[in-house]
């Protein structure tokens, strides 16, 4: 499963918001790091605040790759504890961390960096909501 949430800005009219997507990988599973040849998967869920969702400038993003059956709680703990670890270690952006079968990448522009914790939580919220929309509309 790949969960993507992006805060985007539409240059023509300045519209801004978060678009989020859930891609499933039916039949794929792994026990360690996500395989390199996983591919993007099948788009099953989406939240579109800025429409059309292409051609926009990305201000921040969270990109999570994990098996389809991973629970929301596990995803949340992996991302938040991973971010804490990277922050306390003084890692430079973009942040990428793989822990067991889950990998995430997070980045945001300079104007948002002082509020990175809230931004990360919002993006995570949207990503999980996109997954919920996929589960509600199989």
């Amino acid at each position: 499963m790949r969960l993507v949430a992006q805060r985007v800005l539409r240059p023509p009219n300045g519209a801004t918001g978060i678009n989020a997507y859930c891609y499933f990988h039916p039949g794929c599973d792994w026990l360690d790091a996500p395989p390199d040849d996983l591919g993007r998967g099948v788009l099953r869920g989406k939240i579109i605040e800025v429409d059309p969702p292409s051609g926009n400038r990305v201000r921040s993003y969270l990109d999570i790759t994990t098996p389809d059956h991973t629970t929301d709680l596990h995803i949340t703990e992996s991302v938040l504890s991973g971010a804490d670890l990277l922050q306390s270690g003084g890692e430079s952006l973009p942040w990428t961390l793989t822990h067991l079968e889950t990998r995430f990448e997070f980045n945001l522009e300079l104007a948002l960096v002082q509020q990175w914790e809230l931004e990360l939580r919002m993006l995570l919220g949207y990503a999980l909501q996109a997954r919920k929309s996929a589960q509600q509309n199989p």
Binding site: K46, Y61, Q87
Partner: protein, 198 residues
């Protein structure tokens, strides 16, 4: 596209303030006094008075008040803000709806082509970052209680507390900002139109 006019209004009786967003074409038909009268009439539903009393009691808190924010069902979403009672962490007390400008534009397309900020309805810009949500919530509280010192509000974005079943513990001190942030990300928007239409 509708040209929007924004007018600051103040209720003559109690000083509470708010804005009206309306189609500019309507400016010729309404006097300021008419708008202020409608604003005051629409400001609070009598059934909400008891809830407002509960909120006022919470505002006496000397510690920061936690505010949970959840998105509504629409896209783009409106945001529903709830106070969390420090004495009863399981309960939520509805505060207001934060509505971004794109939604207001949609509302203005239908009669009466005007939207008032009220006791439960706060309009914000199109930027829905957490900082903007915080700012909009503070603006809402400032409108309703213009003469009192308000506590600090801690905004809890959704749905982390739902996932954990309890609110996140606020850090003892803000964590430092990550290094290496750049002014503009090189990343492109994610799905292609072809993917979305597949």
């Amino acid at each position: 596209m509708t040209q929007i006019a924004v007018i600051e209004l103040r209720a003559p009786s109690d000083g509470r303030s708010g804005r009206v967003f309306l189609d500019r074409k309507l400016l010729e038909r309404f006097k300021l006094e008419d708008l202020e009268r409608e604003f005051e009439a629409a400001f609070i539903d009598p059934e909400d008075e008891a809830r407002m009393d509960l909120i006022e009691a919470l505002l006496n808190a000397e510690q920061p008040l936690q505010v949970s924010i959840f998105p509504g069902e629409q896209s783009p979403p409106e945001f529903h803000a709830y106070f969390r009672d420090p004495n009863d962490p399981e309960s939520r007390l509805f505060a207001c709806v934060l509505v971004s400008e794109p939604i207001v534009r949609k509302l203005l397309e239908a009669p009466p082509h005007m939207v008032f900020e009220t006791e439960t309805f706060q309009i914000m810009g199109s930027d829905t970052t957490s900082a903007s949500l915080q700012s909009a919530f503070e603006a809402w509280a400032g409108r309703l209680w213009p003469d009192r010192t308000l506590p600090k509000f801690e905004i809890l974005p959704w749905p982390i507390e739902e996932v954990h079943g309890q609110p996140p513990t606020p850090p003892d001190r803000p964590k430092g900002a990550p290094r290496g942030a750049v002014a503009s990300l090189p990343d492109t928007d994610f799905p292609t139109p072809e993917e979305l239409s597949a």
